[in-house]
Symmetry: C2
Subunit: 335 residues, 2 copies
């Protein structure tokens, strides 16, 4: 049905080998022949069959991106950063999300074979390395993002969540707040754990003896809302609430506002991530800015560099890839 390289070859009166060379810009094709082939291909609206091409050339020009989810501002930003670099390098993206389901993650990873030249993977579950080991072919170049996979030699890019949480605590403590509650993220999430650890350590160091005040959450707005309700109902309220991500901070903000508290006069709220919404809510949200797009872009560059220089991929320490440092954005919610 569709036109193949054979059709072009016939029309142009050359062999398929020559068509292939001409189309791929190889040097060893006579100028007149090249032009004839290109003309015919164009006229026939020939487009190479991708599967065939990648089967024989062993390259797909496609990068697989396997994420916990596709939805929401965080992933949208991440994809933007990856997409930008992919476009620069003329690479396609095969995106797959596993919806927080480890089994699906395995399936997604295995399904990438023969479809992609390399893999970008975000697997924020604590202790997921065994499953990764199972489903990741050693032959497949991969870069991990924000994943708790101990030094097993795979390149990995991280956000300094621990340092970011400490920086936020410095800001809140520096402003004189003493009773600081923390809304935690999912227990099995690596980012969430690091942020919690930053909260605990900062408190222990700067306010020795102070009891940590930790509320459960799972990174969505609803859990932030519940935490806000709980804090409002508490016998004595905190001076400030630090939520492990912005969505929860917003939920908390809405709950407290609805309950009649004024932010920041009565209570201060801070988040983590700096999603676009953070700037737009009222009052605008103090948060730690993570350049999510930059994380994605850098991860892809790292993958490409490693693929270009496989030696570097196998040996040597990769822990030295510097983590992304979040930046404090002071806004109205703590001003």
């Amino acid at each position: 049905m569709a036109v193949t390289i054979k059709d072009v070859a016939r029309q142009a009166n050359v062999s398929v080998a020559t068509v292939s060379r001409a189309l791929n810009g190889h040097e060893n094709v006579a100028k007149a022949v090249r032009e004839r082939v290109l003309h015919v291909a164009n006229q026939l609206r020939y487009s190479p069959h991708h599967a065939a091409r990648s089967l024989s050339s062993r390259r797909t020009h496609t990068i697989g991106v396997v994420l916990p989810d596709l939805y929401g501002e965080f992933f949208s930003e991440l994809m933007r950063g990856i997409d930008q670099v992919a476009r620069e390098r003329r690479l396609h993206l095969l995106v797959s999300s596993y919806h927080g389901n480890p089994e699906e993650q395995g399936e997604a990873l295995r399904a990438m074979r023969g479809r992609v030249d390399g893999l970008l993977l975000m697997s924020p579950f604590v202790g997921a390395s065994a499953s990764l080991e199972q489903n990741l072919s050693p032959a497949m170049p991969v870069v991990l993002m924000n994943s708790d996979v101990p030094g097993d030699g795979k390149p990995s890019l991280r956000v300094d969540n621990y340092g970011g949480a400490r920086a936020m605590m410095d800001h809140l403590l520096g402003a004189g707040h003493r009773r600081i509650a923390f809304v935690a993220g999912p227990e099995d999430n690596f980012d969430a754990r690091e942020r919690l650890r930053g909260y605990r350590d900062a408190l222990a160091e700067r306010l020795p003896g102070a009891e940590p005040w930790i509320l459960p959450g799972d990174f969505d707005e609803a859990s932030g809302h519940r935490a806000g309700g709980a804090l409002f109902a508490a016998p004595s309220r905190p001076d400030a609430v630090f939520a492990a991500n912005d969505m929860m901070a917003l939920g908390c903000l809405f709950a407290l506002s609805q309950a009649g508290l004024r932010v920041p006069q009565d209570i201060r709220i801070a988040g983590f991530d700096d999603i676009p919404l953070a700037r737009y809510v009222h009052p605008s949200l103090t948060t730690m800015r993570v350049d999510i797009a930059e994380l994605g872009g850098r991860a892809l560059r790292l993958l490409l560099d490693a693929a270009a220089d496989p030696a570097a991929g196998e040996a040597g320490p990769r822990e030295d890839v510097a983590p992304l440092v979040p930046q404090l954005m002071v806004r109205a919610s703590t001003a």
Copy 2:
């Protein structure tokens, strides 16, 4: 390097044909053999090479999604809806955005050959049908979303932008507002044109003789902000502003708030789309809710149905696919 079907065949002491049948769940394989093959495949962590499989089977189990852009809430929602249906049907998604660039669009479309079984395409440029005709293989099943491609026989799913704009005008006029300014979208954008047409017609019918008051815009926040500035500086201000999408409505809202006007007391603002942000800003934004995820999900189902029944794909009128009707969401910005 990677393990192939041959390795499995050798280990299991059968032919590759049998391995293929066993793995694909064909009936005609002895139970004992099937189990042996499955066991070996599992043990070897065999994963079929996708390009090879689709080259010979002529199916990719992948759907191409070609969009003007990937970034932002609109496309994030759209992808969510598509992704959900894709998962139900165990289909992969190959996503490509052409960044509003018609040439890139052509490239993206052509690059889909041999990679996908069908295509979901959003091409909101007015008069783009010639280019589509050029780059779309007739053999490739496709469903268009919100595209200005006149009855050329391709299934197409639309949002009733015209009706939606009229409904919003009914709301504003019904509330007694008479001087209603409109912030238009890009001139070459089909959705934008339909919304503008709704504004014009509603005004002409319900307020004969009233002069349309139209400001330019291009669907982003900045252009809404400029429109807001212009309206504030106008010798006499409108009662209400209707922006062709939410991002511009928000820009306008911020500009007018910064200038010191109170919304809705001094001036009312309405948008179109109901992006998640619309609920969160202060005051919350009146808008026309478009179920964007539903649009994506329905488009994919339509594509799958058409592919299952190719006869329906070629003949008969396809205009009868009902458009999605936006829903009026009255919020604080016009209350």
